[in-house]
């Protein structure tokens, strides 16, 4: 057994153990912290699967931004935990659930083991059409060209998520800003950290988006890093969440899907079909679309973390 294989097995066991912790940990807060660790470990697994684009996404969104969201919620729900004492299901239910889950996991594991080692693949086709797009990173080509319809609709899902989260505001707060008013001074330590990190993070985010055309990276990962910077600035109270009725905010939220949709429809005129790119111009158009997607992701994720409006709007 090679060193690498030993490391793989160790990593697999660690991931499983931390996952088990998030399910069985006695407190919800501890479970949530476990989940954040889990997200980071998972991105290592993705590196071992040679899926660096996914690893970046998992680290930035799966571990990072989701972690902020869940830890924030766990902190606010600490009192709620007390009220669930005595609501835990009976032993019989647990046993039944455990049997069902073992069954599902075992069937899945069996099928995974049965999958052929050299499985069917679309990699050759993806590489064959890659030159038309002018891109060097096939994952970006799948997201923005071959299966662009998935991506554009998933961007609409993000807009709907924002509508859904905002819809949970009280009527009088509609149009106002999320989060408490900025009463306190900025937290000095966190403010220092944010001031140091934000410029670096912004450069890294833009860099990851830009190289995403040819190397691992892209609009999702770059946008998520920019989003993280905004979230840190808000946590340090150096800035506060904008009013949800601000036109610029809504414009930024829909810019990504809107530009993508517009480019897709323009394809009918210039390239003979919806979501087709004219030959030779594909790469600049793709980068143009991606730039707006970065903007939208960078704004959407912090707004989803910030939650529904909690202050009356200023007129």
């Amino acid at each position: 057994m090679s060193v690498l294989a030993a490391l793989d097995i160790g990593l697999a066991l660690l991931v499983f153990a931390v996952a088990a912790w998030t399910v069985f940990a006695p407190g919800a807060f501890a479970a949530t912290v476990g989940y954040v660790v889990y997200g980071l470990l998972l991105s290592l697994v993705w590196i071992r699967l040679f899926a660096v684009d996914v690893a970046l996404t998992e680290a930035a969104i799966g571990g990072g931004v989701t972690g902020v969201l869940l830890i924030g919620a766990a902190a606010r729900l600490r009192q709620a935990e007390m009220t669930t004492v005595g609501e835990a299901p009976s032993g019989v239910t647990r046993l039944f659930a455990a049997c069902l889950c073992v069954l599902v996991a075992a069937a899945l594991a069996g099928v995974v083991l049965l999958l052929p080692d050299q499985g069917p693949t679309l990699a050759p086709q993806a590489m064959e059409r890659l030159p038309e797009t002018g891109l060097g990173n096939p994952v970006t080509a799948v997201l923005i060209a071959y299966r662009s319809f998935d991506t554009v609709l998933e961007k609409v899902v993000l807009v709907l998520a924002v509508v859904g989260v905002w819809s949970l505001a009280a009527d009088r707060y509609w149009g106002g800003a999320p989060g408490e008013a900025r009463a306190e001074r900025p937290e000095p330590t966190l403010a220092f950290f944010a001031q140091m990190l934000a410029p670096i993070g912004i450069v890294v985010g833009v860099h990851i988006f830009w190289v995403g055309a040819d190397e691992p990276g892209g609009a999702f990962q770059g946008g998520a890093i920019l989003a993280a910077m905004w979230i840190i600035l808000m946590m340090a109270r150096l800035t506060e969440a904008p009013q949800t009725n601000a036109f610029w905010l809504r414009l930024a939220l829909i810019a990504g899907p809107a530009v993508f949709l517009a480019a897709g429809v323009a394809g009918v005129a210039v390239a003979g079909g919806f979501f087709a790119y004219p030959s030779g111009l594909a790469k600049p158009i793709i980068l143009f679309i991606e730039a707006f997607m970065v903007l939208s992701i960078a704004v959407t994720l912090p707004m989803l973390v910030a939650g529904p409006p909690r202050r009356e709007p200023r007129r």
Binding site: A107, Y146, F149, V159, A258
Partner: protein, 501 residues
């Protein structure tokens, strides 16, 4: 095989297919951006466009007698994504494009933004999300790629959940959260099946998959996981617990859309899965399981409906029961009776969509006019608002399966097929379900038609009563669907067309 070859090339009229999705999606973005009064204007402006597109697609399918196909970006599957419209998709599209404006007209009164006033929460959310439901349903009806359909399922979830808890009362929040949990469970299990199918065959295109699929462990597991996930979203017994509180507590216009259309979205995908993706699997055992669950849903749902004290909850439980009928078509999917069974199932989906939308809108009017929707307090209300109760009653006709109604046509076809197949038990369940439906409807309607008219807060507007009545009449009119309509339904359905030959 020639069918497969043609099904992965674009056909005439194909460009209408992306439009059916892009038009409402654009509406969502614009409504959210411009907000306030504009949101409502955009939603209403686009509804006729949507109807024209749906009719256009249906007429192309009709003329060619074959599925209409579009390849997005010019990338041919398996690399790219195809959209396909067959007979079933076309009628569902038209149905959705009729029920959405009805719900919209009804919601106009509750969710309008007067000129010059600032944007309010309810209207913006409702108008944005109704369009999102439309976009998601269009994609579900037209999607030709299983992962693309996963995105559609998520779109539908995000569009539907916030509608449930629009009023922010604790019980609606709990109902919405529960709904979201079931929907997430459903989407994840569906996605897991998608992963396995891609791992086994290297494509997610429905037509390509149907040619490659063989009965092997990965396919069985994928089929099981995807079906279980979709059943959770369709609220088939025993995964129905989330539905009644969610549907009964949403604003009436949203309830009509949720009960009439949204549950049909995931049902549509189950039909796609078993009839279009997996016809190669022996369907007898899974079909019997599905129909058994369906039968249980009919009996349990109807019985619970009989015991409800609120009108909207009764109607919501009746949805649980009526969903059950949809699944009686599955064990009858092969044999000379398959075409009848398929038509019966589709007919049930259509007639229930119209009838249930009519009933929820009527119940909403009753609740608004009386200030409550307690069944015990409905005495004499039928005299005060006869049109509303006529709509409620005509909708109920379809639920019971009495002629003339679309529900009758559906149940007749299903019964004919199950008797022809020698599977009497389904016919017996349908009869029992019809009697129970008669029971709960009688319980709500009989007191309303006698006694002194109660004090009303306000009489319902004629226009809104008219909307509910029009939907109920549509459910009745389906009874008179001519034979070419049933031939149209079979276009592009491999299992049923085999049976027709």
């Amino acid at each position: 095989m020639s069918e497969g070859a043609s099904a992965i090339a674009a056909t005439a009229g194909g460009s209408l297919l992306p439009l059916a999705i892009l038009v409402p999606a654009t509406g969502v973005l614009l409504s959210f951006l411009l907000g306030g009064r504009q949101a409502q204007r955009i939603a209403f402006g686009l509804m006729p466009v949507q109807f024209v597109i749906a009719i256009g697609i249906a007429s192309f399918v009709w003329r060619s007698g074959e599925p209409v196909v579009y390849l997005l970006g010019g990338y041919v599957p398996p690399l790219g994504i195809a959209l396909r419209a067959d007979g079933f998709s076309a009628v569902m599209l038209v149905t959705a494009s009729l029920i959405m404006p009805a719900a919209g007209l009804y919601a106009w009164v509750n969710f309008s933004t007067p000129r010059g006033s600032t944007e309010r929460r309810g209207p913006l959310v409702v108008w944005t999300l109704l369009q999102a439901v439309q976009a998601a349903l269009s994609l579900i009806f037209l999607g030709g790629d299983l992962f693309n359909l996963y995105v559609a399922l998520e779109l539908l979830t995000f569009a539907a959940v916030p509608l449930v808890c629009l009023d922010g009362r604790p019980e609606t929040l709990a109902a919405a959260l529960r709904y979201l949990m079931f929907a997430l469970f459903g989407a994840l299990f569906y996605l897991l099946g998608v992963a396995l199918l891609y791992g086994a065959y290297g494509t997610l295109d429905i037509v390509l998959l149907s040619e490659r699929i063989r009965a092997e462990p990965a396919v069985w597991l994928a089929a099981g996981l995807m079906t279980a996930g979709l059943l959770a979203k369709t609220a088939l017994f025993p995964l129905h617990l989330w539905l009644p509180p969610a549907h009964a507590n949403a604003p009436a216009a949203a309830s009509a859309v949720l009960s009439g259309l949204v549950v049909k979205g995931s049902f549509f995908l189950i039909v796609r899965l078993w009839f279009n993706v997996l016809p190669a699997l022996p369907g007898a055992v899974p079909g019997t399981i599905l129909a058994t669950l369906g039968s249980a849903a009919i009996l349990v749902g109807s019985t619970l409906a009989l015991r409800q004290e609120r009108l909207k909850l009764m109607i919501a439980y009746s949805t649980v029961a009526q969903i059950g009928y949809l699944f009686l078509m599955f064990p009858l999917g092969s044999g000379p009776w398959a075409a009848d069974a398929f038509s019966g199932g589709v007919m049930q989906a259509l007639s229930h969509a119209f009838a249930k939308a009519a009933m929820f809108l009527s119940a909403g009017l009753i609740a608004e006019s009386l200030g409550h929707d307690r069944i015990a307090g409905l005495g004499g209300a039928g005299r005060a608002m006869p049109i509303t109760f006529l709509a409620l009653g005509l909708g109920g006709l379809s639920l019971m399966g009495l002629p003339p109604s679309g529900g009758f046509a559906a149940k007749w076809l299903l019964m004919k097929a199950s008797i022809a197949a020698g599977q009497w038990v389904w016919a017996a369940v349908m009869l029992a379900g019809g009697l129970l439906a008669g029971g709960y409807l009688y319980r709500a309607l009989a007191p309303a038609l006698s006694g002194e008219p109660p004090n009303m807060k306000a009489a319902p507007r004629r226009s809104r009563e008219g909307v509910a009545l029009a939907l109920a009449l549509a459910a009745v009119l389906l009874a008179f669907a001519p034979p070419p309509f049933f031939a149209f339904l079979q276009i592009g359905c491999p299992a049923a067309s085999v049976a027709l030959r």
